[in-house]
C-alpha cells in the first residue's frame, strides 16, 4: 500500500499518544495509531457535536467499538474540550477518568463503554432505530476493527441493519490487517471483505484511512447508497508513524516502556514520513 505522508497534525497527535504511553506505562499502541486519522476527521469535519453539551440530543453519535484503540479518542476528545488535557497525564492511574478502555459513565463524549469486542455495532443499530422512531436527523457512526469483525455479534447487527435499511448508520472499519497474534490472513482472513458487507445490504466504500482529505470527502457522501446503511473500509497501518511498531504484533499492547525506548520512539516519529 502506498503511504500517505503524515501531516503536522498527525505527527502532533502521535506525540500525544506517545506521551500517554510514557505516563501510563501501558496501552494498545498499534490500534490507536491506525485509527488516529479516522477519529480526527470525524471530530474535525464530520460529526455534529457540542463539547460543552456532550448530551445535546441532536448530536451525531459516535461509538468507539474497538475500545482498545481509545488513546486516539482521548487525544481528540481532550483537544475538542470534552475534558481537560491534563487528564492525558494519568491514563490508567488509580482514580483517573481515562482507562485502558473508554467508559461512558465517566468520560464526557463517550457514548458507550466498550472494550469487549462486538458490542458497539448492535448498540449503534439500536440508536439508529431510536432516531428513526423519533424522526431525528442525527447519524450514528460506529468504529470497529478487523479483529473485532471475528465476533458473530458484528454480523448479527449487520444482518439486522441491512433489513432495516438504516441510512443513518455508518460503520467505519479499521482494516489494518493485523490482530493480536499476527496478520488477519494468519488468524482469521476476512476476504472478500467488501463483498461480505455488500451481501449484507450495506453501501460499501474503501479509503486510505491515514489520508484526512480523502476520509473527509468520502464521509461527506454518506449514505453511500440510498436506503442502505454504509460501511467505510479504512485501509490503515497498525502502529503507523513508528517504524518499529508498524505491522509489528509486539506493539499491539505494550507495558513497561523504558525511557530509552520512549526516546527511540520519539526519534522514529520525528523521522517518519
Amino acid at each position: 500500500m502506498k503511504l500517505t505522508p503524515l501531516d503536522s497534525k498527525a505527527i502532533a497527535q502521535r506525540r500525544q499518544i506517545l506521551h500517554i504511553m510514557e505516563k501510563s506505562q501501558r496501552g494498545h499502541f498499534g490500534a490507536a495509531l491506525s485509527v488516529m486519522e479516522i477519529v480526527r476527521v470525524l471530530y474535525d469535519k464530520i460529526l455534529r457535536y457540542d463539547s460543552r453539551k456532550p448530551l445535546w440530543p441532536d448530536r451525531d453519535r459516535f461509538i468507539f467499538s474497538k475500545g482498545h484503540g481509545c488513546l486516539a479518542l482521548y487525544v481528540v476528545l481532550a483537544e475538542k474540550g470534552f475534558f481537560p488535557v491534563a487528564e492525558l497525564d494519568r491514563v490508567c492511574h488509580f482514580g483517573a477518568m481515562l482507562g485502558g478502555h473508554p467508559e461512558s459513565r465517566k468520560i464526557p463524549g463517550v457514548e458507550a463503554s466498550t472494550g469487549s469486542l462486538g458490542h458497539g455495532l448492535p448498540i449503534g443499530l439500536g440508536m439508529a432505530l431510536a432516531a428513526r422512531i423519533d424522526h431525528q436527523s442525527h447519524r450514528v457512526f460506529v468504529l470497529i476493527g478487523d479483529g473485532e469483525s471475528n465476533e458473530g455479534s458484528v454480523w448479527e447487527a449487520a444482518l439486522c441493519a441491512g433489513k432495516h435499511h438504516l441510512e443513518n448508520l455508518v460503520v467505519l472499519l479499521d482494516y489494518n490487517r493485523m490482530q493480536s497474534y499476527g496478520t488477519t490472513k494468519e488468524v482469521q482472513d476476512l476476504e472478500p471483505l467488501a463483498d461480505k458487507w455488500r451481501s449484507f445490504n450495506f453501501g460499501v466504500e474503501e479509503v486510505d484511512g491515514h489520508d484526512p482529505a480523502q476520509l473527509e470527502s468520502i464521509l461527506q457522501r454518506v449514505p453511500f447508497v440510498p436506503g442502505k446503511p454504509s460501511v467505510l473500509i479504512c485501509h490503515t497501518i497498525k502502529g503507523r508513524g513508528f517504524a518499529c511498531a508498524e505491522g509489528n504484533p509486539d506493539w499491539h499492547h505494550k507495558a513497561k516502556i523504558s525511557p530509552e525506548e520512549v526516546e527511540r520512539l520519539r526519534k522514529e516519529l520525528e523521522n517518519t514520513r
Binding site: 459513565r105 469487549s116 458490542h119 448498540i123 440508536m127
Partner: protein
C-alpha cells in the same frame, strides 16, 4: 401469565411513548393490538440474542424503554456478556421478558430449561430480578416497570397457574409479601412456588405446625429486612424454588440469614439439583421427581423439626 405480561404492553405503550417492544422471532399471540397501534415501536427481529440486547441498549441510551421477549434460557445464558456489559454496566432500563423460566419447557429437554437464570441474573450488578407467582401478580408488576431506573429480568411462568397472590396485599418491586403469618417455621418462595408453600402451610397446620409464608417475587434487590423480621424466632427456614440449588432463592436467603445472625435449628433449600435434566415429561413431573411437591416438602420438614 405470559398473556397478561405481553398484553399489558399495549397499555404501557399507550401511557408512555418511550415503550418499545422487541421480540426474537417469537409468536405474534397477544401482541396484535400493539402491532396495530404502535407499528413504529414494534420490532420482530431474528434469532440473534446478543445483537438484540445491544440493540435494546442502544435504544435505551436514546431514551427508550425496550421490552425484549424471548425464551428465558436464550435471554439469560445465550447473550450473558451483552446482558452484563450493555445492560448492567450501562444501567439501562431494558426489560427482559423471559418466557418459560424454570422447567416450563420440560418436554423439550435440557437445552430449553432455564434453571440457572435467577443465579446468572442475580450476579449482574444493577439488574433487578423478578419472578411473579401468577398472572395477577404479573399484572401488578408490569405498570411499575415503567419507572424502574435500571435493567430488569422478569421470569414468566408457564401460564394458567392458580391465582394465589392477593389484591389486598400491596405489590412493590423489591418488597416481599407475607401471604400467611406463622409462629414455628418460615417458608419462602419466589415465582410459582408460592402456590407450593401455601399448600405446605396448610398441610403443616393440619399437623399442628404454624408456618409463616413469605413470598419474594423480587429476588434482587432482596427484601432483607422483611426476611430477617420473618425469620426471627422461627426454628426452621425453608426455601422452595423452581431453580437449581446454585445461586437462586435458597442461596440468597441463606446469605441474609447467616449474616444477620439467625439462630434457628433447621435450614434447607428445596430446589432442583445442580445437574442437567435427565428427564422429559412435564413441569409437574420434574418438580415431583426432585421433591418439589407440597407432600414431599411437608414430609421433609416434619422430619427436621
Amino acid at each position: 401469565m405470559r398473556r397478561t405480561c405481553l398484553a399489558s404492553l399495549t397499555d404501557l405503550a399507550r401511557q408512555d411513548p418511550r415503550v418499545v417492544f422487541i421480540g426474537s422471532d417469537t409468536s405474534r399471540a397477544n401482541l396484535g393490538e400493539f402491532i396495530q397501534q404502535f407499528p413504529d415501536r414494534f420490532f420482530m427481529e431474528g434469532v440473534y440474542e446478543a445483537n438484540l440486547i445491544g440493540m435494546a441498549a442502544g435504544m435505551a441510551l436514546s431514551g427508550k424503554i425496550p421490552y425484549l421477549n424471548t425464551i428465558a434460557t436464550f435471554l439469560s445464558r445465550r447473550c450473558y456478556e451483552q446482558v452484563v456489559i450493555d445492560l448492567g454496566l450501562h444501567n439501562l432500563p431494558v426489560r427482559l421478558l423471559a418466557s418459560g423460566g424454570g422447567t416450563v419447557y420440560a418436554p423439550l429437554g435440557p437445552t430449553h430449561l432455564a434453571t440457572d437464570d435467577l443465579a446468572l441474573m442475580r450476579a449482574v450488578p444493577n439488574m433487578a430480578v423478578v419472578a411473579p407467582c401468577d398472572a395477577e401478580e404479573m399484572a401488578r408488576l408490569m405498570p411499575l416497570t415503567l419507572s424502574w431506573p435500571g435493567p430488569m429480568y422478569i421470569r414468566i411462568a408457564k401460564g394458567g397457574e392458580p391465582i394465589v397472590s392477593r389484591p389486598d396485599l400491596p405489590f412493590r418491586i423489591g418488597a416481599g409479601i407475607v401471604l400467611e403469618e406463622g409462629r414455628d417455621v418460615l417458608l419462602v418462595s419466589t415465582g410459582i412456588t408460592a402456590q407450593v408453600i401455601l399448600q405446605v402451610h396448610k398441610d403443616l397446620a393440619a399437623q399442628g405446625v404454624s408456618a409463616a409464608v413469605l413470598h419474594l417475587p423480587t429476588l434482587k434487590p432482596l427484601d432483607r429486612e422483611l426476611l430477617q423480621v420473618q425469620a426471627r424466632g422461627k426454628t426452621g427456614v425453608f426455601t422452595v424454588e423452581e431453580h437449581s440449588l446454585v445461586g437462586g432463592l435458597g442461596s440468597a436467603v441463606a446469605e441474609v440469614l447467616l449474616e444477620s445472625g439467625w439462630r434457628g435449628k433447621s435450614f434447607r433449600r428445596f430446589a432442583l439439583p445442580d445437574a442437567f435434566a435427565e428427564d422429559l415429561g412435564s413441569q409437574g413431573e420434574i418438580m415431583r421427581k426432585h421433591g418439589l411437591s407440597s407432600e414431599s416438602i411437608c414430609g421433609a420438614i416434619r422430619k427436621m423439626l
